[in-house]
Amino acid sequence: MNFGPYRKIILDGLWHNNQALVALLGLCPLLAVSSTVVNSLGLGLATTVALVFSNSVVSLIRNRITTEVRLPVFVLVIAANVTVIELLMSAFFHDLYKILGIFIPLIVTNCAIIGRAEAFASKNTVDRAVLDGLFMGLGFTAALVALGAFREIVGTGALLNRAELMFGEAARNWSVRIIENYDGFLLAILPPGAFIGLGLIIALKNVIDARAKVRAQAAASQPVAFEAAARKA
């Protein structure tokens, strides 16, 4: 069995085509709820579940819908499964549900989900669509959590505040103080902090990619140099 395409799907979702950092999709919830790690993780996982379900359903019915009506059908599919997720969150993570508020139903309008339905799920088999949904979602979650961690540390000096919202009562004292005697930098928690933080994270990713490219080129040119040196000797 050839794993190449699957490997590509996974790497695309996590890094090369990361929905938040490269495609810049779904920024509205990303910027709005990423003030803490727990909020970010909650919304990220909800989005991941929505992506997996919508991708699999869209992929299953991809041969039955005509091009003219595909977008309304995608929206209906996404809206239906987001409603299910919303009710589940209300039942099992009620406090987190209250904090995330309007941004859970708004997952319906997250362009990343309809983008993957249109660009990938409607053209691929179910197994690939599910894998794509899962790793696109995890990539989105990772970006969200990174931004949430940045804003929480810079804004309050601590990490994992109010972890009990997500992990139950046992997590009440998970909060870690990173910087002692820190009064907090309010701007990081306010909306400008989200924009600046996301900009910095995207810049960091671009730097890493540029470095990797330089290294790959250096590695590719290495044997030639050796050969030339050998010939000279």
Binding site: D183, F185, L186, L187, L190, P192, I196
Partner: protein
Amino acid sequence: MRFNTSPAPHVTPTGSTRRIMQWVLLAMLPGIAAQFWQFGPGVLIHLALAVATALLAEYAMLRLRTRPSRAGLSDWSAVLTAALLAVSLPPIAPWWIAVFGALFAIVIGKQLYGGLGYNPFNPAMVGYAVLLISFPKAMTAWLPPAELSATPLGLLDAWNAVVHRAGPEGLGFDALAMATPLDTLKTQLGLGRTIDEVQSGTLFGALAGKGWQWVNLGYLAGGLWLLRRGLIAWQIPAGFLAALGGLSLGFFLLEPQAYPTPLFHLLGGATMLGAFFIATDPVTASTTPKGRLIYGALIGSLVFVIRSWGGYPDGVAFAVLLLNLAAPTIDYYTRPRVYGHPG
């Protein structure tokens, strides 16, 4: 005999960017001197800290952006930005306030947008707004003016306050600070007092707030000198002061017990610094003659609105930033008619 037959333009501008920046800095001296006299040497410490940080940040960013760092540093624009920020800071604000503000102003307010000439917002005010929003406690504790306090702070006392957060001998640090007249006015009016009751307080002088009146007169003098030299457009300060004065006069006449006098507004807070030095920034302000008048007037009106009904005691920084955002639109609708073309 040879005649000079060079093509137009025949009139060349007299000042380079560097010259203009230096003149503007020079024009700030009377205001800075008044601040030194009224609020002690804290302003000088902040000036030194902010200028040093701004120059270092400018150098580092220009290197990172692979731009010629000599030309960038020698145009004095970073020094002016740092100076405008430093004089807005409370004289006993902790040292890192000046450093962080200058860093934010240069790195994010200016260089990330592409450096001098490309920044949509006034960098000094970006730095100030970030500080005010993020560290409200440190940014609102001013000193009592020299007209009031019995023992003015010496250089060593100011240094101790800024760096070690310690008050002079026999006096706690927290005992040093005092709210500004604008702040006091806002709080007291909020408690249901009348203007007469508020202004009988010790903070209020003959013209406006004690201490602040002299600082504002200092910046007014410097600003008028800038106008005389033709370095700033008269429309911006004129629009600013006319709108602020007109609005405050109107409300003062309607309800003299709820609104302070126009003079209090014109010589209080950051009015003169804002009108002549901050709103006139050639990069971020409006550029057409009519547009400048509108731009200045809208800033003046917003300052009055924020001071009277907003959440902050003074509003020059926010008003300037908001109008920076509107400047391109104002310019678009006020383009002057080109000779030979119908309007």
